[in-house]
């Protein structure tokens, strides 16, 4: 098999090749719709282009998890029994959807399949809460239970521990079973971590910062997220060879966070700008671009505010605004509801 050095070399070459293509890449946009009145967020997309998220009123009320595919559109996944909220965060290539739902008085992780519907993933013994954020193609699910990061797998729940502090959350798991998330250190600050076969590695922070969180990990173990502290809140990528490196924000922005990364090392996220929040795509060679600038024929009344997931085909799911009052070319008027008003969900397809 390949050595680690060889793997990295291949990855870098592939990334470079892809990035050349990415520079010229343009997209079409599809509005995914909604299953509940009001607002929506889309959190994950699999290799087949199936997307999942939550749809409901703005401000988190009456929200239900959804599953979207090109044939059939958006499907309401309901909630666990007695619940008034659910949201799906990831879907694997087999169509297994995971997320979080309220029950009558609790919050539990769920798994959903078209055949079996929504199932409660339970909690660690001694705790009464759980969340699920990511699922790999082996069906391993990353999330949290009580105040600890966990892996749900085969009916059991594994506690991943912390970095010496009280709490942790697992936000992503790749097909190798590596997990990325955030965990409190002994001094109480949360740091991004990479968990591999029982060992939790503290990924640290960007220079001058005190906290960090990992939001996603790709097949090669490249981790992305955000670091915060003296330098604001900044998106980062991390690899064993580079350590944690800052991803520059879009022009005029003081906040950025990376939410997704694919096997080619393409990173998607959200960056504030002088005009408000914008969805971005970043590659090592191509740098950061505003996705609003590369969608061909993007209607003038749509602003893509954040991108949350990207698959290996380069398909991206994003949230944004669709209103006659908005334009990606200017700062939104305060009466245009950009701030906390209804949001829409979109699929960006490379063309």
């Amino acid at each position: 098999m390949y050595s680690t050095k060889s793997k990295l070399t291949i990855m870098v070459i592939l990334s470079a090749l892809f990035c050349v293509a990415a520079q010229a890449q343009t997209y079409t946009v599809t509005d995914l719709g909604a299953v509940r009145h009001g607002s929506a967020r889309v959190h994950g997309i699999n290799a087949a282009g199936q997307a999942v998220g939550g749809s409901g009123h703005p401000h988190g009320e009456d929200t239900h998890a959804f599953f979207w595919q090109k044939q059939g559109g958006m499907r309401d996944l309901g909630t666990l029994a007695g619940g008034d909220f659910s949201s799906a965060f990831a879907v694997n290539d087999a169509g297994l959807v995971v997320g979080t739902s309220n029950t009558a008085t609790k919050m539990h992780a769920f798994a959903w399949t078209a055949a079996g519907g929504m199932k409660d993933l339970g909690t660690l013994p001694g705790t009464d809460a759980s969340q699920a954020y990511s699922v790999n193609n082996q069906g391993q699910i990353a999330g949290s239970s009580g105040t600890h990061a966990v892996i749900f797998s085969g009916g059991s729940i594994q506690d991943l521990g912390t970095l010496g502090g009280n709490s942790s959350e697992a936000h992503a798991i790749n097909n190798l079973g590596q997990v990325a998330g955030m965990a409190d250190t002994a001094d109480g600050h949360a740091h991004a971590f990479l968990w591999t076969k029982g060992a939790m590695l503290d990924l640290g922070t960007l220079a001058g910062d005190t906290e960090s969180r990992a939001d996603h990990i790709n097949a090669a173990g490249l981790v992305v997220g955000a670091s915060s502290g003296g330098g604001g809140v900044r998106a980062f990528f991390w690899s064993p060879s580079t350590g944690m490196q800052a991803i520059p924000s879009l022009s005029g922005g003081g906040y950025s966070e990376a939410f997704g990364v694919n096997s080619q090392g393409q990173v998607v996220g959200e960056s504030s700008t002088s005009l408000g929040s914008r969805a971005f795509l970043w590659t090592a060679s191509g740098g950061i671009i505003d996705l609003n600038d590369v969608v061909v024929g993007l209607p003038t009344n749509i602003v893509l505010a954040g991108a949350f997931s990207i698959n290996d085909k380069g398909e991206i799911v994003a949230f944004g605004l669709r209103s006659p009052n908005v334009s990606r070319h200017q700062e939104a008027h305060m009466d245009s509801h950009v701030h906390s008003g209804p949001t829409r969900v979109f699929l960006l397809t490379p063309q």
Binding site: H37, G60, D62, A129, G254, A305, V338, S340
Partner: protein
């Protein structure tokens, strides 16, 4: 010829005088029924977050980088003062007044949907912000609730745009300057949920979603469902008010908005939501303010679908009477008070309505009908503070005329919800030169802190309030003012004012609005002084004459507010 001309002039003068008199009587008569709004006054910026301080002044915060420049409005002289700068943007925080009267602020703004992990305390006496230990994660649009023991519950708030709302309720203890996590009560809640301490000591979530619940904050916490509201959708951006101990009104909200309202009595063995009368207008993005007589004023809002549809502005205010369950249309407001507008009861019985994206950096003040129904009773003496269950003497020359005594916690409002105000009537008896008034029995009925105490006569006319401290132990030496320093909830370790983990967005972002606001008005940045409340000791009948929906009025030219709004309602020439 000359005589005829003089006669004509005399006649014209008489006619003019008659017309003015008729207009004055009409206005007074109308104000007697519908109340009266002052002219619009320009403010330094939008009051998106507003809190009544124990010294009678209003602390307010605008949006984005403007929220780095909070202000305090002094109704005594209608002046504004800039506070010292907080370390981060306070926009989108939750806030309430602590038992000491200091302002507790949880969360804040990093970007839209991205919350600050910080919490701070603002001390008016020293004009300073002090950071307390961080919360578990960010919170953007959280709700804060002072508990019976003086601790503060914080729930909900967005962490970032890709996550659910922060599901972990946390309790801040001022005494230990530390947080306690209710790990057994994790639940995804809407943003800015309506939360109230209930008579049983639990915290009741009254909305805006349909399912309502109790949260026990003991130990690691636990939720239990109470009842579904009758309105089958969700009352998004519809306010709630505790209009009597344990009794809550929720009104309007939803998209499309509803005119319906419903109440619940948490004193009942099995509380249920009951429909009450409906408003005359469907509304969302409006505010609701409980008044000294127990009625609830409804201000602003939009009557049509859409997040904040200013084209469907509801100008008419309404008054809900808990005795009849009916709403009555009140005087109309000039500006659209929708999303990001605030409303607060002032100690003189009037209501401040301010801000809003559409409303802008300005305010109007409402004098309810009770201020046009004769002389006001006066409080001549009151203790600075009282303990639970204590009977205190309230001096008044109007003792025999008093039929009601009410207590209202100082308000702290944002996004259509007041996280602090709550009303209850107090039992009392006549005494020589005053009243013996019995304070609430415990903190479940009235969480510790500062309250406005009103006495009302048989016509429903309230006195100007005395601001009193209520708690386990009476505070000595206070007369409604904030102590410069109180040990009660000063962070135990000021060294905690720590590294700024999530500093504010860079000044370049959205700074234009702040600059413009600063240019609009000459703001004093001098250190704030504690204000005596004696200016509020009024015994006059406001509302003399004139038109009441005047043109925009700059703060520099605004008239004194010490007459219950009457001066701003006098005839004036347009700007």
């Amino acid at each position: 010829m000359m005589r005829n001309r003089r006669a004509k002039i005399r006649t014209m003068m008489l006619v003019l005088l008659l017309q003015v008199s008729v207009a004055a009587i009409r206005c007074l008569a109308q104000a007697n029924v519908q109340g009266q709004w002052t002219a619009v006054q320009t403010w330094p910026n939008r009051a998106i977050h507003a809190t009544l301080l124990p010294d009678g002044r209003i602390f307010f915060v605008s949006y984005y980088t403007e929220s780095l420049h909070p202000h305090i409005w002094n109704p005594a002289n209608n002046t504004f003062s800039a506070t010292n700068m907080p370390a981060y943007e306070l926009f989108c925080a939750g806030h309430t007044t602590l038992p000491s009267g200091k302002l507790f602020i949880a969360g804040g703004h990093i970007a839209d949907f991205v919350g600050q992990q910080h919490a701070s305390i603002f001390t008016a006496g020293t004009n300073s912000f002090t950071q307390v230990p961080d919360m578990n994660r960010g919170r953007w649009y959280p709700t804060t609730t002072v508990l019976a023991n003086g601790d503060v519950l914080v729930v909900s708030g967005d962490i970032n745009s890709s996550s659910n709302t922060n599901p972990l309720p946390q309790v801040y203890s001022p005494a230990t300057n530390s947080w306690r996590s209710l790990t057994n009560a994790q639940l995804v809640l809407p943003l800015y949920p309506l939360m109230y301490v209930a008579p049983n000591g639990k915290v009741f979530q009254a909305g805006p979603n349909r399912q309502t619940r109790y949260l026990s904050t003991a130990g690691t916490g636990v939720w239990s469902n109470v009842a579904l509201k009758n309105f089958t959708s969700t009352r998004t951006y519809g306010p709630g008010v505790m209009y009597e101990a344990g009794k809550i009104l929720v009104v309007g909200g939803g998209d499309p908005p509803t005119a319906t309202a419903e109440t619940i009595d948490l004193n009942a063995a099995t509380p249920v939501w009951r429909s009450t009368g409906s408003m005359h207008f469907a509304r969302r993005q409006h505010n609701a303010v409980v008044l000294p007589d127990g009625k609830v004023l409804i201000v602003g809002g939009s009557s049509s679908s859409g997040f904040d549809n200013s084209a469907a502005k509801v100008a008419a205010s309404e008054m809900w009477d808990p005795a009849t369950g009916q709403f009555t249309v009140m005087a109309s407001i000039a500006k659209y008070r929708g999303y990001h507008s605030t409303a607060l009861l002032l100690p003189d019985g009037r209501v401040l309505s301010a801000g809003g994206n559409g409303g802008g950096p300005n305010a109007q003040i409402y004098s309810p009908p009770y201020l046009f129904k004769g002389a006001r009773p006066a409080i001549s003496s009151a203790p600075a503070g009282a303990a639970y269950g204590q009977t205190v003497f309230i001096g008044t020359p109007n003792a025999t005329a008093i039929t009601k005594v009410s207590l209202i916690r100082l308000g702290s409002t944002t996004h259509t919800f007041d996280e602090s105000a709550r009303y209850m009537h107090l039992n009392f008896s006549q005494a020589a030169g005053g009243l013996n008034v019995t304070m609430p029995a415990n903190g479940n009925l009235a969480p510790p802190g500062y309250y406005m105490l009103f006495i009302l006569n048989g016509s429903g006319v309230p006195s100007v309030a005395r601001i009193m401290h209520l708690g386990a132990v009476a505070v000595a030496g206070l007369r409604g003012n904030v102590p410069a320093s109180s040990a009660q909830d000063e962070p135990a370790n000021n060294a905690i004012a720590q590294v700024n983990k999530f500093p504010t967005s860079r000044p370049a972002e959205r700074s234009q609005g702040a600059r413009l606001a600063a240019e609009r008005i000459n703001i004093s940045s001098s250190k704030l002084a504690v204000t005596d409340l004696s200016f509020l000791d009024l015994n006059t009948v406001p509302g003399q004459a004139g038109h009441c929906d005047g043109a925009e009025q700059s703060s520099q030219s605004a008239t004194s507010v010490s007459s219950g709004g009457s001066k701003a309602c006098t005839v004036q020439s347009p700007n």
